[in-house]
């Protein structure tokens, strides 16, 4: 199993890593037993993802997919962001080793969960 340059680069210098003060939505997915847990925080303005941050426990691929999903989602409307698939995540990384494809699923699920959380909070 070998990672491509893009994955290693993002893993080494991830984008949008960190915490967010008073996020509008939080998505927490994964299971520590499986070795990866992703927390995604979003800030929504005018129905758009104005800011997005992640914190991840996991392998090289888990950190790289976390980073890339934040880049894909940033600035998009919630509807656009919801349409991001795990294949989009993997593609943006230039491909993932087959055994690591679940990391792209995790990233997509984290984004979905954060948007869902935002909507639920809003309707309350």
């Amino acid at each position: 199993m070998e990672y491509n340059k893009r994955i290693i680069e993002l893993f080494t210098n991830p984008k949008n890593m960190g915490e967010m003060k008073d996020p509008d939505g939080v998505g927490k997915v994964g299971n520590p037993i499986c070795g990866d847990v992703m927390h995604l925080f979003i800030n929504v303005k005018d129905n758009k993802i104005a800011d997005i941050k992640f914190k991840t426990f996991g392998c090289v691929a888990a950190i790289a997919t976390s980073s890339i999903v934040t880049e894909l989602a940033k600035g998009k409307t919630l509807e656009e962001a919801e349409k991001i698939t795990n294949a989009d995540v993997a593609k943006a990384l230039g491909g993932l080793p087959p055994i690591k494809m679940h990391c792209s699923v995790l990233a997509q699920q984290a984004l979905k969960a954060a948007i869902k959380d935002y909507r639920e909070k809003k309707t309350k």
Binding site: Y3, M17, G18, N31, P32, I33, G35, K55, I63
Partner: protein
């Protein structure tokens, strides 16, 4: 700076080994089974190598069967003994190398019953359970001499005693222990033992199985009558010569042990929320295995790799399967802590300067990954039931 601390994976060949091997590639290249002078020359070198290796474990030369390495030795021991003996029960442990685990798996599909002994939290096999599990149908007990992941040295003297009492054959995979732990096969009453060359600064592609005289075993590689009819195939003379030189080098156990103790001490002093996996005392001189809480081993390995430091991980994410290390799990270590484990394995070529460099960089990369982690304390980790196959 490049630092190699993955010597349980493989080692740098010693210069003396390389020098001894070279003539056998293009000068004395005869087939050790040929009758002419070139063949006889090769035979002489091969038999000297056999005898030099035998001496290091107090075996007779004809008890040393050259193989392609530890994996083949393990396969020959288990499958060969199973095929040549009456009885359908084999006892091994939960922390064996995949060569043993996988051979047992094959045998179990052929109708053999395999018992996997438990280990305690330090990774030492349960002797009471061994005694209990032996039945009239048991033909073989196979327990490693020392574990490759966390370095636990197993009580093979006691195991061998139990086996003798019940008249069961005893095999030990001593690939990691060989030369680092003194082993006298006669005194310890060992029937079969696997050893490998490339773990002790010898060439890759050669190992041996010690088979005590009179032990019933069936060869697994069909062909000519090489290796006392136990392993067919043209003898690997150059490698056997290299292996013998490696087996007789000064293992520098004391020097390596000092470095090991220093590395453990420094990591425990410099980094918090860590766990030393494996025993403190009954431990191979070159093994250091730590779990770093809240972060994952593969990520740690890759960041260290970027600093030129070569180590390995028991983390599932770095292997082809995604299950965490079967060794650490069987010691009762939780899956999250298992995921954060890495192994440093030292050799006589490592220096104190390298150690300084490793500790400094380790501290830095652990901090970096912990900044990325959503976990700050044990209370943050909420284990859920498995939602899907990891």
């Amino acid at each position: 700076m490049k630092v190699y601390m993955d010597n349980s994976a493989t080692t740098q060949m010693d210069k003396a080994v390389l020098k001894a091997m070279l003539p056998y590639f293009n000068k004395q290249y005869g087939n050790a089974s040929s009758l002419h002078q070139m063949g006889r020359e090769a035979r002489k070198a091969l038999e000297k190598a056999r005898s030099d290796i035998a001496k290091t474990i107090n075996a007779d030369p004809e008890e040393i069967i050259f193989t392609s390495g530890g994996t083949e030795s393990d396969n020959l021991a288990l499958k060969g003994v199973a095929a040549a003996n009456q009885g359908k029960h084999i006892i091994t442990s939960k922390i064996e190398h995949p060569a043993i685990m996988s051979s047992c798996n094959t045998l179990s599909k052929q109708g053999y019953k395999i018992t996997y002994l438990n280990v305690d939290s330090c990774g030492i096999v349960d002797l009471k359970q061994l005694e209990k599990e032996i039945t009239k149908d048991t033909i073989l007990v196979s327990i490693m001499a020392a574990n490759n992941e966390m370095g636990a040295i197993q009580p093979i003297e006691d195991i061998s005693e139990i086996c003798k009492k019940h008249e069961v054959l005893f095999h030990t995979d001593a690939v990691q222990a060989f030369t680092k732990v003194p082993i006298d096969v006669k005194e310890l009453n060992i029937d079969l033992m696997s050893i490998s060359s490339h773990k002790i600064h010898g060439p890759k592609g050669i190992g041996a199985l010690f088979v005590k005289k009179g032990t019933k075993i069936k060869r697994q590689m069909d062909g000519g009558g090489h290796e006392f009819k136990l392993r067919a195939g043209t003898e690997n003379v150059a490698s056997a010569v290299g292996f013998a030189v490696a087996a007789n080098l000064d293992p520098k156990v004391k020097q390596i042990k000092e470095l090991q103790e220093e590395l453990i001490k420094r990591i425990e002093y410099d980094i918090k929320d860590i766990k030393l996996n494996g025993p403190r005392k009954q431990r191979l001189c070159n093994n250091v295995n730590f779990s770093f809480k809240f972060i994952e081993g593969e990520a740690l390995l890759m960041l260290l790799d970027q600093k030129g430091i070569c180590i390995s991980t028991g983390s599932a994410c770095a292997s082809k399967s995604l299950e965490p290390s079967h060794v650490l799990i069987s010691m009762g270590i939780d899956p999250v802590t298992s995921h954060g484990s890495i192994r440093f394995s030292l050799s006589k070529f490592n220096t104190r300067r390298e150690l300084d460099y490793v500790v400094r960089n380790l501290k830095e990369v652990v901090e970096k990954l912990r900044r990325m982690s959503p976990f700050k304390g044990d209370k943050d980790i909420k284990i859920k039931e498995k939602e899907w196959e990891c």
